[in-house]
Symmetry: C6
Subunit: 195 residues, 6 copies
């Protein structure tokens, strides 16, 4: 089952790009935030590397809470559930790191994620964005899913030449070195609830 771009700008959900033996695919990252005591739940048949990736994203956001306009003590006031649908499909690797960080910042700041944006990149504890594998296949799946923009690690610039011209023309590639740039391009301003 091939992925599709989201129909709306979502809060707490972002679109990643996966690379498996079967080729590329889009990956939906969903986050629910609950008033709670700091429990982190990770589901969706995630491998250890992907789970550690979520922890790195979480710690980065915790270390930058002030700058991100997030409550300093969010990590102990909320329970966070990160789920990656299509629960029967095993998922692993660090390349969803920036997607999980983006969805988490979105959920914590009430800022929607642009629905036409996909992204791929490993995140480190200091927010650096490290290169990933399978960029060509990921770009193909992003294109097929109807995404318009994909955010990629700057160190993957050299792999753009491998992507077929037709696909390359249909996508805007944003090359980044740090999560700050990811958030700038992926998030919309805070959604104010109407009453």
């Amino acid at each position: 089952r091939y992925g599709q771009a989201e129909a709306d700008n979502q809060i707490g959900a972002a679109t990643g790009l996966a690379y498996t033996q079967a080729g590329g695919d889009t990956l939906s990252i969903e986050i629910s935030l609950f008033k709670g005591t700091g429990k982190l739940t990770l589901t969706g048949k995630l491998g250890d590397v992907m789970k550690e990736s979520a922890q790195a994203a979480f710690s980065y956001i915790r270390s930058r809470a002030d700058e991100l306009k997030i409550e300093q003590d969010f990590h102990e006031k909320y329970d966070v559930h990160i789920h990656v649908p299509e629960g029967a499909t095993p998922k692993d690797g660090p390349s969803a790191g920036i997607t999980m960080a983006t969805a988490l910042v979105s959920a914590l700041t009430n800022r929607p994620v642009r629905k036409e944006v996909g992204m791929t990149g490993e995140i480190t504890l200091r927010g650096r964005v490290l290169p990933i594998g399978g960029l060509k296949e990921k770009a193909l799946s992003a294109h097929r899913a109807g995404l318009k923009t994909i955010i990629i690690p700057e160190e993957n610039n050299k792999d753009l030449e491998d992507i077929p011209e037709s696909v390359r023309k249909g996508l805007k590639f944003i090359k980044v070195k740090h999560l700050d740039e990811v958030l700038e391009h992926a998030l919309l301003p805070e959604k104010v609830s109407q009453s």
Copy 2:
């Protein structure tokens, strides 16, 4: 041992549809709710994917407690035991997601589940219903068990043509995209206890 439709509209029990190497079968999901401290127990030889599926169902309901007319703090006021009988049979996969969600809402709202309804579909953290495999075999087992209506993911519409005409005529198929639609078709109004 083939399943059978429930004899009565039950509170806290719903009928799912399973697809195994041996073909399709119905699957009873039983839930007991206790005044407690928020412990979740899952039994019935469930695989990891099915357990994660229960967690996703649980989180979805927690995130929508108000709309579902459930106490906001149910997750810490009750112990929940989800059991899937025929304890010797291994069960796995995400397709019981909407069945577990339905049984849980039933238990928490005191609304009975219609006894003639079966259902199958993966649930995500936001309540979306994702497609499943083995629809043909599941429909056959639902028919054999005497069910009248089965709720399926809209994305499985294309698989209806594979079901033998005789079975297709004996069942009403309700295609859904979101758990809200599942609950609307599967639950009866709250049962008021007589005193």
Copy 3:
């Protein structure tokens, strides 16, 4: 080592029937109840399915405490140890479910279990009794052990014909659909301690 019927009506001990590759055997379920904090200990080289079976029995009794004349909060006031002797023999499967439930109710209500009764059947969260395998071998071992009555799931009625006539005549078979019937036939009135 073949089992034998108990010499006395016991409180907190019931006789199950097991079916292994080596044939049928009786199975003693022993329960000790302690003033405590709700810890459940399961010993006797029990497999996961048998342990889940004990949890289902426990939850059923917890959900029916009032009707069974058991203190509502027994699950947090007592530590419960369920042991199945002959600790070197691996035991598994759900068919000791009703035996564990019966021994537990006996221990909690101070009602002795009739020493001439054996039983086999899976229990669900709602107390339904589901069919089991190996009825013929179980009946043979019950007969050999000197039991007079065995309680079986109603759905196993069709398997009675496979039991040799000599054994069938020496045993009274009670067919049940629900644990309530099991308790009715297996338990004696509360034993009043003499002082």
Copy 4:
């Protein structure tokens, strides 16, 4: 390394008899009791069955604390460490059950264990003593170690004929059905400390 009978009547230590592929051997069970909070530590490369055996012994004693003149709440006032020396040798099976129970009662009542006594037998939650394997080899090792008396399950009576006459004559066999009998024969009166 062959075992030897203890040089003194010890408190909190008893001699069991093991049966391994290499033949029979004596087994020292050592217990240390600490003012604590009820932690149970089991060491000596013990298999799961032997650990469960220790739990059964512990529960039996807890259920009979009054009759054994042990403080009712010993299980939460003391930390108990049970160790079986020769830590590199794997040990398993339920036949050290009565030895662990005896050492534990000794430690809790301050009554020394007779140094010339060895024992073997499975214990159940109600203190029944069940038969064991390898009696012949166990008797040989007891004899070699200089023990004078060995306590065995009554159901093993039939195996005495397999023990060589010379060994049988050098040992007194006490056949028991219940732990009460074991304690009666293995324990001396409480040792009063001199000041």
Copy 5:
């Protein structure tokens, strides 16, 4: 992907040298420190030996807190997350011990790590620095990454002769016996924040 020296002197990040089947590589150790309750998180696909190495580094620092001008109770006032990027690459062995210790002291004292320094060496509970393997390959990768100085265990002095002259001339080797010497050469004075 070959490592590169850091662009700036970092607080809480140090550069180690790894030796894998594929040759040598640099290894970034990142540390985040949070006001917390003493939780230690280790991520980056670290093997057990590397995790134990982190624990030894942690305990050494705890035992020397006063001399290192670190708050005595840091271990219970902060949560520490140690992450080693390139999360898909398995990492193991004790040779990152002094790197983890250095990054941790840096984070706790606010002293930056010199960006041109790499290091390798096992750390013990008393701060001794033990020899490591693969010095030649590690030196090559340090050189390639643009590092200027590498700190090595004194016991590895004998392995310097194996490093090609061109590489040996481009690097300054500091041989140490104790972590104190490592810190002296790797850390800059405390960075005073400007306001």
Copy 6:
């Protein structure tokens, strides 16, 4: 890497003797003691038997705290970290038992361990010292490392004859039956700190 005798009399560190497939080696046991809550950490790639050995040593010392002039409640007032360096080398077996006990008593009493002493022997809960394997190889490594005295179990007396005369003459062998004797020969009087 062959071991060497310590350069100084250390507090909280003792030298054991290991026997591996590669022959004998010395083994450094390092202990750090922290004001804490009773947490025991064991690192250095230790196998289960060696970990249990540490627990036995710990319990023996706890049971004899008064006689050893150690605070009765040390086990809940301190965190203890026991580390065995050369973290990449797997270590197992019970023969480091008396070494761990000696290092622990040293740390708790502030008495230095004589630097010229090595030791090997299993410890039981009552402080008995049981025989070990590989005495010949262990003696060779002790000699090579420059140790002068080695403490061995009395039951290993018979193995002394297997040690080459040259080595036997260079070492003093102290044969012991109980940990009390080990401590007497290995520990110096309490070190009084100068101010």
